[in-house]
Symmetry: C2
DNA sequence: CGTAGCAGGGAAAGCGGTTACCCGCTTCGG
DNA sequence: CCGAAGCGGGTAACCGCTTTCCCTGCTACG
């Protein structure tokens, strides 16, 4: 029986037959191999392949060669600008290297992350990049590490993006240092009374930024009081609600709110406005990441730039080079002062 | 010779041997097959697989079964919130269906899109989703169509997102109608003197929105004069520069600027501010898409909502159901009025 | 009691490639 | 002039898995 519109794709076999050569010759002609092929035959094969519309079956190649051209990317949330920029960098770099990237979202859930890593292993990717920030003390961490170790043992490469407690190659982002510098800059601008809108208290990225900021303040004999630190989801809405809560309890005397990432900062700014407080004039706001949109909010947001696209490229580059597990220098961050933190 | 840390992964063969059963039985135990397997053997196999940390090689499965669990997604720009939301929806839905998605970015280039489609065919994906908006009159269109036709002929499914001239299954987004309604709403609010910030003039999505808007105005005897329509890149910067140019030439008497998408609108608002014009008070601005960030710009942006995440899910769902190429109803759009277009 | 029918296990034939190996020719050094 | 050493083509083994087909041992039924 023949189901309409379901004839199978052209195979290398077809090409070989049509070109009147052996399978081996066809294979050798269509991809660089160690062996050279007679110029004329080669051309014939290539022409035939083009005429027939042949595309090599990547899966078949993968199983034959025992290695794929895939890089598996795991992020917390694909729709978050932070991750989508990262992904853009990785995909571009992958593409230049002739690699294909598959993507999954963990929704910030450690257990799910573990499941996904397990599932992705099935693809036998060349590289696995994990960009969802980890929570410290996550019970699934050990299992994750083991799974990744097993993956590496079979020849895979794993690269983390941003700090984590696990012993794998990592593109470090200097969350602590960037926040420390930001704190210094804020003090220089004349701010003295701080509050913070942070992510979940176990989230490594959030913690690093928060402690960097506090330590930066401490250098000037300042601090952000415990009562003025709010923890919430690492999202725009988290920022919004944290800021609302903060204002409800501690309305007075806040100079500047530091949000541990830009989307939270943006949410916080809207929260301020909803309370009738003008961000930048009444209360300053600073964020972290420098996602593109923060130039366009009002006032434009002071933040710490991470070259996310570059980080993505670097993650892939690092995975691809023979190199070991030496973390290397963290990528440079840079404090970007904008209108949300005017000189006081 | 043995290269350190490169032993190959556990294979089904290993599991079978270890469990003392045949390859066939092992295979049948680990994935539902038509054949039933003795309860006890089955358990033994499953346990052994778990103990050995076996993960089926997806490539091998693909070549054996002659079909993959992959969906290939092509977008214009991964970092653009429009596409990343779409992608998030697709990835989530895929994941629920046990599918894996691979992603590529066309950078809005038709030739590149064609190349990518060709390359992706190598993956033999079950579904291909094309979300980069097409340009009308693109010379590569015919070749693209042919490539996709060939793909469908070999059993693949292709789904486009948003209007296009190609004869494939499409999740329609009612760009025309949404813009028309928006225009009506703007007239009702009292606006009379319009300008538009549009994408490249061949870009189908941009055109549809623009003509919808103009037709909507026409119903009230209004229009946006040619001189007040600016075309630029479909990006934030495109919006920014268009708006600058517009203001330089046609400063007077503009009531409202319609930007054909939100990122352009946001860029335009910043351009206004840079010119000392207060968006919303001096000149109103409206966009299209309702990407999340537009609630947080000041003033919050009036726009037309597209349920992007849903559109993504729907695209996949449509690809998966046996259904033919009937386009079905376009997804509903909704005008969202916010502070950027106050009552006049 | 004979036999048809049906589980359910295993051997083996693929799936679409790659590549080790073999083999007939040249080319060259000794 | 002979043997070793490329060169370049084809044959076939193999990659990890699915699935067809065969075979055995039961049960059920006339």
């Amino acid at each position: 029986m023949h189901i309409a519109g379901s004839k199978s794709p052209v195979t290398l076999h077809d090409v070989a037959r049509e070109a009147g050569v052996s399978l081996a010759t066809a294979s050798r002609s269509l991809n660089g191999s160690t062996r050279t092929v007679n110029q004329e035959l080669q051309e014939r094969v290539v022409k035939t392949a083009a005429r027939l519309g042949y595309t090599p079956n990547l899966s078949a190649q993968a199983v034959a060669k025992g290695t794929t051209m895939t890089v598996a990317l795991l992020v917390a949330d694909i729709a978050d600008p932070y991750f989508s920029q990262l992904a853009a960098g990785i995909i571009r770099a992958a593409d230049e290297a002739g690699l294909i990237v598959t993507m999954e979202g963990t929704e910030g859930n450690g257990v799910r992350e573990l499941e996904l890593v397990r599932a992705m292993r099935g693809q036998r990717p060349k590289v696995m990049i994990l960009a969802g920030s980890r929570s410290s003390g996550d019970p699934s961490s050990e299992a994750l590490a083991e799974e990744l170790r097993a993956f590496e043992a079979t020849g895979g490469r794993v690269v983390f993006i941003s700090e984590n407690a696990l012993p794998f190659d990592t593109v470090l982002i200097d969350n602590y240092e960037g926040a420390r510098e930001l704190a210094g800059a804020m003090v220089n601008l004349g701010y003295r009374r701080f509050a913070a809108v942070a992510g979940p208290s176990q989230l490594v990225t959030s913690c690093d930024r928060l402690s960097g900021f506090r330590d930066g303040l401490a250098e000037h004999g300042l601090d952000v009081p415990e009562a003025r630190i709010r923890h919430a989801a690492f999202t725009r809405d988290g920022g919004y609600h944290s800021a609302r809560a903060l204002l409800a309890d501690e309305r007075e005397d806040i100079d500047l709110i530091f949000a541990v990432n830009d989307v939270m900062a943006v949410g916080a700014m809207t929260a301020l406005r909803d309370e009738g407080i003008l961000p930048g004039r009444d209360v300053a706001v600073a964020g972290y990441d420098d996602i593109p949109l923060v130039r366009d909010v009002t006032p434009a947001l002071t933040t710490v730039r991470i070259p996310l696209e570059l980080v993505g490229r670097q993650a892939l580059a690092r995975a691809l080079q023979a190199g070991g597990t030496d973390a290397g220098a963290p990528v440079a961050t840079e404090v970007i002062l904008r209108a949300s933190t005017p000189q006081r």
